[in-house]
Amino acid sequence: MNPSADRLRERFPQAFVRAEVVWGETTVFVQPGAVLDVVRYLHDDEAERYDYLSDVTAVEYRDLELPLQVVWHLRSLPHRRFLRLKAELPKGAPLVVPSVFPIYAGADWLERECYDMFGIRFDGHPDLRRILMWEQYQEGYPLRKDFPLRGRFSRSEQLRQALAAQPESRYSMHELTIADAFEDLPQDMRQRLARGERTGE
């Protein structure tokens, strides 16, 4: 077992849930609310130095009763260690975990993808938008188990939406603030922008 697991157990007795080893890889389960503190400790402490964030993703089991898991794969390049950190989000409660973006800049797109695919909100992420799906995508979160393989909408509905799409929806509100693009917008879009809205939300 990775020695970091025992140190986490001592240091975060409340947040630490359990640790297990599967195929030589250590997984530490922590309380979702404490993720940022745990990761900050793992990143900053001299004995740990998990300076590299490999991946952020989530797992939903086929048994829909089981909680959804958010997974962080951390690497310590100086100590050549690998640690999997998990937080379980029970079904029914809002799917929110703290963002680790303040610690790892690389978490930016990984968290956006996780939000896009699972609908998990990363609290504290500066720009949590859809990334692989377009911003106006209405069908839900594709990698959830209740999402059918073919998508939620019928083919004709998908086609109708594609044909009805506004040309300016290709640009986010954020981008339309550049140059004169704003002046050329329809009145209602300008008003929405003034209210701080983004396209598709």
Binding site: V22, W23, E25, T27, D51, Y52, L53, S54, D55, T57, V59, E60, Y61, R62, D63, V71, H73, R75, L77, R80, F82, R84, Y104, A105, G106, A107, D108, W109, L110, E113, M117, I131, L132, M133, W134, P142, L143, F147, L149, Y171, S172, H174, E175, I178, A179, A181
Partner: protein
């Protein structure tokens, strides 16, 4: 040093009131060398400070696929860059949850399609750890050969297209010629060129044919000459150096924090190579160096990839020398199909074959994350199994996705033309980014 100002007729771009060419003052030092040119008068002074929105892609040849960049420009300088990805999203991970393990391997061809054998092997390594099987020594060495060939293949495409982006055409032809030779070798081995589907869980789809090693030896012998030729042509080339040095630089701490991997990270001076730090396929027993840059700019990334080509040849030489005889696939009835002749003549083998194909092998309950050093960086596959023949979750950790996420920082403050060079230096494959 005293400086004197002389007036030199520079061009006929502007005429003065009397119809003569405008004279522009030049600073000339005592040695007679022109040192500084005063800035030409602003052509359209009223545009100063006003920003412009430029949209590059998704159908633009220099974005290496369907990448879209929205740029905010101040004159020619990039103020802000907003990348958009997802135009090629096909839901590989979702489809993988509805497929048996061996049926997913063709999908891995299609994500990073310049590195298909490498993806097949990475996938097989992950699935094998999930099943708990040890592959045979012959399979291990053959996989190292395929892995390094695929690294060379991918780096050659990178080299050729980047040279085209920056304005050199000949290296593109040379590198694609060499790449064609690897494709021929792969075609002889597996029958396919681009989408190889080379591995199966527990082994390979096929053993190498007779005489294949001679073709590989021939490639290993002649390929370094091509690298040397490209090196002579490009590395000290004034245009190349001018376009790449100091462009898109990133320091080591920042690069690690941004999650960069592969040549991108090593160019910034961090010697993180999965083959050395978290070895797989017995890479720790091969003798090779990990090239590391100092500046982390486009030029360093080019140098690192060029050196990796040479190091891959070194690994190939060692792998060819040590390739053992023996069985190719694991002796595990859970995973490997019975021979076709037995399946058509014996009842038990036929049932076994039928069950294997229709239901698929069942891994134990568990999960694993396996990372390999792909040409783009740390390529990881994360599997979660609940004991059924299909994975609960199959996650790809795409190196070029994370590398690309740093592009807004890399291009900030550079010129519009440098955006193309920086984007090329990241070595993105949109199939892998969008999946």
């Amino acid at each position: 040093m005293a400086k004197r100002t002389v007036e030199v007729a520079l061009s006929t771009s502007g005429l003065d009131a009397e119809g003569r060419p405008q004279r522009t003052p030049l600073l000339v030092d005592e040695g007679g060398r022109v040192t500084t040119l005063e800035p030409p008068p602003a052509i359209e002074p009223e545009l100063e400070g006003e920003h412009m929105l430029i949209n590059i892609g998704p159908q633009h040849p220099a974005t290496h696929g369907v990448l879209r960049l929205v740029l905010e420009l101040d004159g020619e300088t990039v103020v802000r860059c907003i990348p958009h990805v997802g135009y090629l999203h096909c839901g590989f991970e979702k489809i993988g949850e509805y497929r048996q393990y061996n049926q997913i391997i063709p999908w891995t061809d299609r994500e990073d399609y310049l590195n298909s054998p490498g993806n097949n092997i990475a996938f097989a390594l992950g699935a094998e750890r999930l099943f708990g099987v040890e592959i045979t020594p012959r399979c291990t060495v053959l996989r190292v050969i395929a892995m390094e060939l695929s690294r060379i293949m991918s780096h050659l495409v990178w080299l050729g297209t980047t040279c085209i982006d920056i304005g050199a055409f000949t290296p593109f032809l040379w590198s694609f010629q060499e790449r064609e030779r690897i494709y021929t070798l792969l075609e002889q081995w597996i029958g396919a060129r681009l989408t190889t589907t080379l591995t199966r869980v527990g082994g390979m789809a096929a053993d190498i044919p007779d005489g294949w090693m001679d073709g590989l030896r021939d490639f290993i012998r002649t390929f370094p000459k091509t690298i040397a030729e490209v090196d002579r042509m490009v590395t000290r080339n004034g245009i190349w150096v001018g376009r790449t040095i100091g462009i898109g630089a990133m320091g080591p701490e920042e690069a690690v924090n941004a999650g960069l991997s592969g040549p991108m990270l090593r160019a910034s001076g961090v010697a993180y190579d999965v083959r050395k730090d978290f070895p797989y396929l017995d890479y720790e027993t091969y003798d090779f160096d990990v090239p590391v840059g100092t500046q982390g700019d486009v030029y360093d990334r080019f140098l690192v990839r060029m050196e990796e080509l040479r190091q891959s040849v070194r690994i190939l030489e060692q792998a060819v020398a040590r390739l053992p005889d023996g069985p190719l696939n694991v002796d595990d009835a859970r995973l490997i199909l019975p021979p076709k002749t037995k399946a058509t003549s014996e009842m038990e083998s036929m049932i076994h074959h039928f069950k294997q194909v229709m239901e698929g092998p069942r891994p134990p309950i568990g999960e694993t994350y396996v990372a390999v050093e792909s040409p783009k960086g740390e390529k990881g596959y994360y599997f979660v199994s609940d004991g059924t023949p299909k994975p609960v979750r199959w996650r790809i950790r795409p190196p070029s996705y994370v590398n690309l996420s740093a592009i807004p920082k890399l291009v900030e403050g550079h010129l519009l033309s440098d955006v193309i060079a920086i984007n090329a230096s990241i070595d993105i494959v949109m199939g892998e980014i969008d999946r």
